[in-house]
Amino acid sequence: MNLTNGKGSMSTASSNAAWKAGDVVSDQFPAGLRVLVVDDDPTCLMILERMLRACHYEVTKCNRAEIALSLLRENRNGFDIVISDVHMPDMDGFKLLEHIGLEMDLPVIMMSADDGKNVVMKGVTHGACDYLIKPVRIEALKNIWQHVVRKRKNEWKDLEQSGSVEEGDLQQKPSEDADYSSSANEGSWRSSKKRKDEEEELHQQFVAAVNQLGIDKAVPKKILELMNVPGLTRENVASHLQKYRLYLRRLSGVSQHQGNLNNSFISQHEAAFGPISSLNGLDLQALAASQLPAQSLATLQAAGFGRSTAKSGISMPLVDQGNLFSFQNPKLRFGEVQHQNASNSKPMSLLHGIPTSMEPKQLANLHHSAQSLGSLNMRVNDPGAQSNPLLMQMAPSPQSRGQMINENIGSHVSRLPSSMAHPIIPNGISSSVLGRNVIADGGRGAAYNSVSQNSSMVNFPMNQTTEFPVSSFPVGSTPGISSLTAKGAFPEDVSLEIKGSGGFVPSYDIFNELNQPKTHDWGLPNAGLTFDASQHANPLQGNIGIPSSVLLNQGFSSSQQSGHHSGASSVGNTMFAPGELMDQRNAQHINHLNTLLLGNSPRVKAERIPDASSQATFFPEHYGQEDLMSELLRQQEGIAPAENEFDFDGYSTDNIPV
C-alpha cells in the first residue's frame, strides 16, 4: 500500500503492490490472493487447500500455529489473509489470532466445527474478521478476499486519522505510516530482525509501558523512555502503538461490555453515576435523552417535570432539551426510587459525565414541574443523589415505584443511563448503563465506557429522546426501572411517547421483548436495562454506535436490538418509566409529558417488563401521543444535533461495531 505521504515507501511488498493495486490488477483479483491456512486436522487441511486452489488463491498450509507464526514473521508481506482453526494442540487459535493482529495486522478468519455462540463471540472480540463453521464449503471461501480489501481500506483510513492525532507524532506521520504499512521498513517494530521471544518480550514491555502511562496519554516518546530498550526507535514504538490502538479499539468495540475499555469516558461517567442514586441516573438520562427541544422542555417543565434536573447536577447537555422530560417523568415515580438510587449510583455518575448541561433555569423549571407532579419527587439518592435532581424530585407517592425503581435501578442502573439520555443519555446511558452494569456486574464498567464511547448513541437525536424522559425515568434508575416495570405500577397511560416520536418505538418494543423472557436471548439478565456487556458486547456496541438520529428515532430500538441494548432501551424505558409512574399521579402531567415525550414509556415499562427489567417495558407500548411525537420530532429537527455536545472519546458511531 502506498501511502500518499510517500515517506514510507510503502512498498512493502509485493503484496502491497498487488493490493493497492488491488484496483489496478483487479482483473485478476482476487486470483492470486495469498492465503495461509492453519489447521491441525490433516483431512481438513487438505480439503481447504484444494478448495482454496479451486478459487485460484495461492495457498500455503501448515498444521502448527507456531510454524504459521514464524512463516508470517519471516515473510511479513508474504500473505494477504490467514485462515486458522480454533482448536489446536500447540496454541489456541485465538492466541494466534491476537499475535497476528498485533504483529502483522493481517485479516484472520477463524474456523471451527464448534458453532457455539460463545466461541463465535470470542472470535469477534479477538478481532477475527470472520468465523466459518466446519465443514467449510467452497462457497464460503470464494469471498474471503473481501476481508483483505476491507482491511486495507480501513487501514488507510485509520492511518490517516490516527496519524493526525498522534501526539507529537504529526511530523512523523509519514514515517509512521510507512512503518505501519511496510514491514520492510527499517523503522517498524516488526521489521527488526528479532526473534519471536524477543518480540514477545518487547511487546510485553510495550504494553506495560502503555498501561503505566494510560492509553490516552501513551505517547511514543514516553513509551520509549519507559521501555528503555536499546536500539528501539521512536518510530518503532509509534508504529506499534498505532497498531495496538487499532487492536484495542477493535476489542473495545466488541467487548466493551467486557470491560476492555478503559475509556476515560466511562471512568468519568461511572464516577458521576456512582454517587447518584439510580434514579438520578435515570433522570439524567431522561434528561439527556429528552433532548426535547427547549420548547418542549419548557412545556415539560410546565408539566411539572423540572424536578430533578436541576438537582442532580447532571450535566446533561441534552437535558436542556429533552432531558428535562426525562427527568421529570422519572421524578414522578421516583419517589421510591430515591431510596434505591443509592444503589445505582453508577449510572448516575454516568450522567454526570455526560455533558448534559441542564441549565439551572431549566432545572429549576423542571423542578417546578416536577413538583407539580407531586409525589413523584424522586429523592434520588439522598446520600449522594446529587446527580439526579429529577430523581430527587420524585414524589414520594410512587414509593412503591421508587422501590421498584431502586431495585431495578440497582441492577439496571447502568442500563438506564444509556437509554435515558438520548442525546445525553447515550453517553449517559452508556455510562449509566455501564455504571449499572458495572455495579451490577461488578466490573463491566469498562463495558460502559464503550457505551459512552458509543455515546454516539447519545447523539441520538435526543430530541426524540425527550420522549423518553417522560416515561423513561426509570431508565436512570435502571434498577428501579426494572423494578418499576416489574411492579407493573406504571400506568398504562404513560405510553411511551417515544413511540410516537417514531424513533423509539421500535426500540422499545424490542426492549420489551427483551425484557420479556426473550431478553434472555439477549443475555440480559435484567431484562433490558443492564447492558449485558459480556454477553452482548456487540450488541451494545452496536447500539451505541448507532447514530443518535437513528437511535433516537429508532427509539432505542437500536439499543434494544441488542440484548444489551437493554441498557439503552432501559434508558429509554426508564425514561418512560417515570411516565408510567406518573400516570397515576399526574395523569394530566403525564399526558402532557406524553405529548412531549413519547410519553408512554412509563407504561411500557411497567407492563412490559415482567421481569423487572422495566427497561423493555418502557418502550413503545404506548406511544400514544402521536401528535406529541410529531411535535417533538419537529422540534428536534430544529435542534442542533446533540451529537456534538457529547464529547465522546473519539469513538464515533462509525467505529462502533454494531
Binding site: 486436522d41 490433516p42 487438505m46 480439503i47 484444494r50 466445527a113 465443514p135 464449503r137 467452497i138
Partner: protein
C-alpha cells in the same frame, strides 16, 4: 459389465449411501473438487481421514480405558474426529461423535465407552461402503468411462 451399466450401478450405490445417511452433501463437495488435474482427490482425502481417525480412535480407546479418564483430552479428540468426519461428509460418524461429546461433558464414563464403540462401528461401516464405491469407480475408469457427477436431489 459395460461402462454404462457400471456407472448406473455407481449412481445407485451413491444414492443409497445418501439415503442411509452414511454420506451427506459435503461428500459431494469433495467430488466436485475432483477433476482432471486432481483425479484422485476424493480417494486421497478419504485415505487421510482413515489414517487420522484410526489414530484418534486408538488414542480414545487408551484414554477411556485407564482409571482417571482425562475427559478434556477425550473431548478434544472427539471434537477433532467430529471435525474431520464432517469435512468429508461422513454423516453417521459425525453424529456418533456428537453424542459422544455430550456424554463427555457429563463425564459419564460408561456412556462414553458405549459411544466410542458406536463411533468405531460407524467408522467401519463407512470404510466398507466407501471401499465398495471406490472399487466401482476404479472399474469405471479402467473401462474408459468417467465417474458421474452426483447431485443431491432428494
Amino acid at each position: 459389465m459395460e461402462v454404462g451399466q457400471m456407472q448406473r450401478q455407481w449412481v445407485d450405490y451413491m444414492r443409497s449411501l445418501f439415503m442411509e445417511g452414511f454420506l451427506d452433501d459435503q461428500f459431494l463437495q469433495l467430488q466436485q473438487l475432483q477433476d482432471e488435474s486432481n483425479p484422485d482427490f476424493v480417494v486421497e482425502v478419504v485415505s487421510l481421514f482413515y489414517e487420522d481417525s484410526e489414530k484418534l480412535l486408538n488414542d480414545l480407546t487408551k484414554t477411556l480405558d485407564t482409571k482417571g479418564t482425562d475427559f478434556k483430552r477425550v473431548d478434544a479428540h472427539v471434537h477433532q474426529l467430529k471435525g474431520s468426519s464432517s469435512s468429508i461428509g461422513a454423516q453417521r460418524v459425525k453424529n456418533a461423535c456428537i453424542a459422544f461429546r455430550n456424554f463427555c461433558e457429563e463425564h459419564n464414563i460408561e456412556e462414553c465407552l458405549r459411544c466410542l464403540q458406536q463411533v468405531k462401528q460407524e467408522y467401519c461401516f463407512l470404510k466398507n461402503k466407501l471401499e465398495t464405491l471406490f472399487r466401482l469407480e476404479q472399474q469405471i475408469v479402467a473401462a474408459g468411462g468417467s465417474i458421474p457427477m452426483m447431485e443431491l436431489s432428494f
